[in-house]
């Protein structure tokens, strides 16, 4: 298993390089001009100089390796320097955003906490709610609980966040006045009062997003449990005199988790992509918003870096899902 993991990691290097190249060329081919938002009063020759100053005068086979070098060598050096106080980077050029002229990674580091708090939390909440719902729904198939679960999942699938989000704001912020409608990203948690405030402002965006996660994961969990509950080994476990909780939570659950683990693991990269619409509605300035603004402004380094980070996460999560597969199911051995 260890060898397998190591081999997979090695294989993922060319995969990621290829992905980086494709993203880069797509952005290269895409229309859009980083200078488009400059005031019209700037003369064309000045604009041309600015373009060259951004490095856009160079051909792709110069800029792509440069980006690779900055991403894989320079940025880690800066990170090590800031962590351990060393001086590896030695003032080398970092990846700079066209829009803000500040290092891309600094901006991402600023936005990541918001996204992780809201979107990450909603994912955790969603999964934690979904698993028991899926298990109970399958165990008591066609019961009132199962019907209610199916109904909630249907809502989760069919109601988009721009509707449910606004609806929640109307009810809880406008009518009842219980929760703030705007997520205050400047809030620093210092004491109990600010912690409470942070929790309150998280409730609505987390609920909106958790509803969607719950809908998907609970359906997968239910289907997988149903598949396994009718298997012969379940009857064997009962014939051995095992209690229902052992039968369901030990024998059936572990078998049922095998496909669900993949669904959960592959959903994680989406967290880091941010939930663009939900972030817009609740004014959370997370990664999703950052990506949208960068796309609109043709901020190629920013788009390139965020997209590539997502690609890394997807590759890593795939690997983790496969390793978990092997741990849960002894029939799958990779060596």
């Amino acid at each position: 298993m260890l060898i397998y993991t190591f081999r997979r990691l090695l294989i993922s290097i060319p995969t990621l390089l290829f992905i980086a190249f494709v993203i880069f060329m797509l952005l290269e081919l895409a229309p859009g001009d980083p200078m488009a938002q400059m005031p019209l009063t700037i003369p064309p020759e000045v604009k041309e100089k600015m373009r060259i100053a951004l490095g856009l005068g160079e051909p792709w086979y110069v800029r792509f390796p440069l980006w690779l070098k900055q991403f894989f060598i320079v940025e880690p050096q800066y990170w090590i320097d800031s962590t351990f106080g060393t001086n590896f980077a030695d003032g080398k050029q970092r990846i700079i955003s066209f829009q803000s002229r500040s290092p891309v990674f600094d901006t991402i580091a600023q936005r990541l906490p918001q996204t992780l708090w809201v979107v990450g939390m909603s994912y955790v909440v969603g999964v934690l709610i979904a698993l028991p719902i899926g298990i109970i729904s399958a165990y008591r198939q066609y019961s009132v609980f199962d019907q209610a679960g199916t109904f909630v999942s249907m809502i989760g699938f069919s109601v988009p966040p721009f509707f449910s989000g606004v609806l929640l704001i109307v009810i809880f912020s406008v009518q009842l006045g219980w929760l703030p409608s705007i997520y205050d990203t400047t809030l620093v948690v210092r004491d109990w009062a600010t912690f409470k405030q942070q929790m309150l402002q998280m409730v609505m965006p987390v609920m909106v997003l958790a509803l969607q996660t719950t809908a998907t994961v609970s359906r997968y969990m239910r289907a997988s449990m149903l598949d396994n509950l009718s298997q012969d080994y379940v009857r064997t476990a009962r014939a051995k005199g095992m209690t229902e909780s052992v039968v369901v939570l030990k024998h059936v659950l572990r078998n049922s988790m095998i496909p669900v683990v993949t669904v959960i693991a592959l959903g994680i990269p989406a967290i880091f992509g941010g939930a663009i619409i939900t972030e817009q509605i609740f004014k959370v300035n997370g990664l999703g918003q950052l990506l949208i603004l960068a796309l609109q402004g043709s901020d190629i380094p920013m788009v390139m870096t965020i997209t590539f980070l997502l690609a890394v996460l997807i590759v890593v999560m795939n690997l983790i899902a496969d390793v978990l597969y092997g741990i849960l199911d002894p029939r799958i051995r990779y060596d």
């Binding site: 012969d232 080994y233 014939a239 051995k240 005199g241 095992m242 078998n255 029939r331």
Partner: protein
């Protein structure tokens, strides 16, 4: 077997119904039988005759819904298993009554080791420590003839062949020294040489451990070799019950006779084709109010269509549910 010994298991008037969308299916109808200590009771019948459903009803192993046990009583160890609390029933399952199922390929949990699956009932019913349970599990694997038992405890089911898996299933069923072992077509899914090995193993174990066995099969050849008494089932009811010798020498029910004719012989005419019983077993959509076999029966008459025959005694420990008296070649009186 002494006739007088008190039965270890006594089933009276068992009736199991499946509720489906298309209506009810009466899978087991008023089945009564008893099992004496140490005897081997064979249960034969074609697919869908209610053999397995009967046995699973005894221990409440049928999923409910759709299954529903309408009435009956199953006396075991002074208790009615259909009335006891779930907790008591669980103590009987795997503890005092062991179960071996038909398909060893799917009857073991694929994600746990064989050792863990054998140790589970040991720890639960006998309260053994982990170490003691592991020792006992190794002994059990040796008992059922699995070589290199100690090492194989840590193997997963997919690392065993079909015959070896069935041995593991038998080890699980025997784990807690049960008084009764119910084997539901344990050799059907195995090829013939493995079948013979498993058969020998079961007979040897029965001799050694002295438990009573209920052996469900559709193979009369197997029954002839191992059983003490035989129940023949058809349409969810017992149509004939006899000591094994009497059944083969003097079958009284037309279905039993037909079944015996279907056994191919190697000494008979070579050109002779396989004998079949024409027709299909009935789908019991309502409680039987006529003989379920009448449509395929060669001696059926008017009465068979309006009344369900009770089990008439036809000899010592021998009864048959038929209005036709095979000895007098005419209708039975009353």
């Amino acid at each position: 077997m002494p006739e007088a010994a008190a039965p270890v298991l006594d089933v009276q008037g068992l009736k199991t119904v499946f509720k489906t969308r298309g209506g009810e299916v009466h899978a087991v109808n008023d089945v009564s039988f008893s099992l004496r200590p140490g005897e081997l009771l064979g249960v034969v019948g074609e697919s869908g005759s209610g053999k397995s459903v009967t046995m699973m009803s005894l221990l409440g192993l049928l999923p409910s819904p759709p299954a529903e046990i309408r009435h009956g009583c199953v006396m075991f160890d002074g208790k009615d298993l259909l009335q006891v609390k779930p907790r008591t029933l669980r103590a009987v399952r795997g503890g005092e009554i062991g179960f071996v199922f038909q398909d060893p390929m799917t009857s073991l949990n694929p994600v746990y080791t064989v050792g863990m699956q054998i140790m589970e009932p040991l720890r639960k019913h006998m309260g053994l420590s982990k170490r003691a349970a592991a020792t006992r599990a190794r002994e059990l694997l040796e008992l059922v003839g699995i070589p290199d038992a100690q090492r194989r405890l840590d193997d997963y089911p997919h690392q065993f062949s079909g015959g070896m898996r069935q041995r593991v299933m038998i080890a699980i069923a025997l784990a807690c020294d049960p008084k009764v072992l119910i084997a539901d077509e344990p050799t059907t899914a195995l090829d013939v040489t493995i079948q013979a090995q498993i058969l020998d193993l079961m007979l040897g174990l029965r001799e050694k451990l002295g438990m009573a066995v209920i052996w469900i099969t559709h193979d009369l050849g197997v029954i002839a070799g191992i059983a003490d008494r035989v129940l023949v089932m058809y349409g969810g009811q017992i149509v004939e019950h006899a000591p094994v010798g009497d059944l083969f020498r003097d079958p009284q029910h037309p279905y039993t006779r037909a079944l015996l004719k279907t056994i191919p012989t190697i000494s008979g005419e070579r050109a002779k084709r396989l004998t079949v019983i024409e027709g299909q077993p009935p789908l019991m959509t309502e409680a039987p109010n006529a003989c379920p076999f009448r449509a395929r029966c060669d001696v059926a008459f008017d009465r068979c269509a309006v009344e369900n025959p009770p089990r008439y005694p036809v000899g010592p420990g021998h009864d048959a549910a038929c209005f036709y008296n095979a000895r007098t070649k005419g209708p039975r009186d009353a």
